[in-house]
């Protein structure tokens, strides 16, 4: 399939939050202000891109030759964890201002299902190098897109007088559900 269709399906139809249900913990948690929605999005995109490249190489040149593919989960999660640790240190020392704005999200990413999820989809549907890059890019941009739209909507919903038991998480889930239905119709 052409790269462009992979990108578009990853961005809209197979959106990482709405159809694959990945990354909902951070989706519900951080998306109350646009600022940290974008902050979270950028850091996730960065981490996903780099770890896709790393995991692709590891998988191709280490795991498959030694046909220990069952070790995939462990290696990938470790790669993500150390990579996040390294980036946190690097940013803290060199880009002080960037750390202030993005620093708080980095530890969150290790436990974010989206990152591992995107990498696993890449591996499972055995895309080649370029395809997996585009898929990673599409899914993370889809993540940012949905996070930003949801932050805007959340801002507006906070002000409504919803009945007490549906305030907060339930109404957020219902809105996300309606968004998922709409995205589903864009296929």
């Amino acid at each position: 399939m052409s790269i462009f269709t992979i990108f578009i399906t990853a961005l809209v139809t197979e959106n990482v939050i709405l159809t694959k249900f990945l990354g909902i913990c951070s989706f519900l948690g951080t998306s109350n202000k646009e600022k940290n929605a974008i902050g979270m999005g950028i850091s996730v995109t960065f981490v996903v891109l780099v770890s896709t490249i790393l995991t692709y190489l590891i998988n191709k040149y280490i795991l498959i030759p030694t046909n220990s593919t069952y070790l995939q989960t462990i290696t990938f999660i470790l790669v993500i964890a150390c990579f996040v640790q390294i980036t946190e240190l690097v940013i803290k020392r060199y880009f002080k201002s960037l750390y202030k704005s993005l620093g708080i999200y980095l530890p969150l990413i290790t436990t974010n299902c989206a990152v591992l999820g995107i990498i696993l989809t890449n591996i499972r549907s055995d895309y080649n190098f370029i395809e997996s890059i585009f898929n990673a890019l599409g899914s993370s941009l889809g993540f940012v897109l949905v996070l930003y739209i949801f932050a805007l909507l959340r801002d507006r919903i906070e002000k409504n007088n919803i009945i007490k038991s549906f305030k907060g998480i339930p109404i957020a889930l219902i809105t996300a559900g309606i968004m998922a239905l709409i995205f589903g119709r864009l296929v």
């Binding site: 709405l18 159809t19 694959k20 249900f21 990945l22 990354g23 909902i24 913990c25 519900l28 069952y70 070790l71 995939q72 989960t73 462990i74 999660i77 470790l78 964890a81 290790t110 436990t111 974010n112 299902c113 591992l116 999820g117 696993l120 989809t121 499972r124 009945i163 007490k164 038991s165 549906f166 998480i169 339930p170 109404i171 957020a172 889930l173 219902i174 996300a176 559900g177 309606i178 968004m179 998922a180 239905l181 709409i182 589903g184």
Partner: protein, 206 residues
């Protein structure tokens, strides 16, 4: 009865603490897959709590998270291998959500919050308690989604190779046309939202 209500309403990890719902929504298109996922998570939770509380003395503060992640991911890989060998269709049905249990917030959460501080027996009990809560929650959602979405309840289908017993109950004899909404991803979100809303409302009284 009080205990079951407690599992469901008081501190159910899914409905009340809203943790680990990444896997809950994705896998619950059939009743069988959901309770199987519930059992898998229950097992992993109990064992990981057990292991974590065992080594809680010797593990220092900074490297806690990587160590716990290694423990949980080894457990998950073990389960993967077993499932892959015995019931291939179930393994395919779970797809990428089986390895994603590693990142499931419940297991890591319970490990960090509880197991690393208490004695072995207590952490096992706690792991069991929240595991049961998770199992009940995920099977309710799976049951509802399949009942409305598909009009059938698959008690045992993919793992029939192990148990050798295949059972799918067709509830509505196509008088009521099944509402495909619950099978879609959006429907799962909405159903979970409504369930949590109702339970929030009921929690006020219970």
């Amino acid at each position: 009865m009080k205990k079951v209500l407690n599992y469901l309403f008081k501190e159910n990890p899914v409905f009340v603490l809203v943790l680990g719902i990444c896997s809950v929504l994705a896998v619950t298109t059939t009743f069988e897959k959901s309770y199987m996922m519930g059992i898998v998570v229950l097992i992993i939770l109990v064992i990981s709590n057990f292991l974590v509380s065992l080594i809680r003395k010797i593990v220092s503060e900074e490297i806690r998270i990587p160590v716990y992640i290694i423990i949980i991911s080894t457990l998950v890989t073990l389960i993967e291998i077993i499932l892959n060998k015995y019931s291939k269709p179930l393994y395919d049905a779970f797809g990428i959500y089986l390895p994603l249990i590693v990142v499931n917030c419940i297991i890591l959460g319970r490990a960090l919050a509880f197991a690393s501080k208490n004695k072995v027996f207590d952490s096992i009990k706690d792991g069991f308690k929240s595991g049961i809560g998770y199992l009940i929650a995920i099977s309710i959602i799976g049951f509802l989604r399949e009942l409305f979405g598909n009009g059938t309840i698959t008690i045992m289908n993919d793992i029939s190779s192990i148990t050798g017993y295949r059972e799918i109950i067709h509830v509505f004899n196509n008088s009521v046309i099944p509402n495909k909404l619950f099978l879609t991803s959006g429907g799962a979100f909405i159903l979970l939202g409504i369930l949590i809303g109702i339970i929030n409302g009921r929690r006020g009284e219970v």
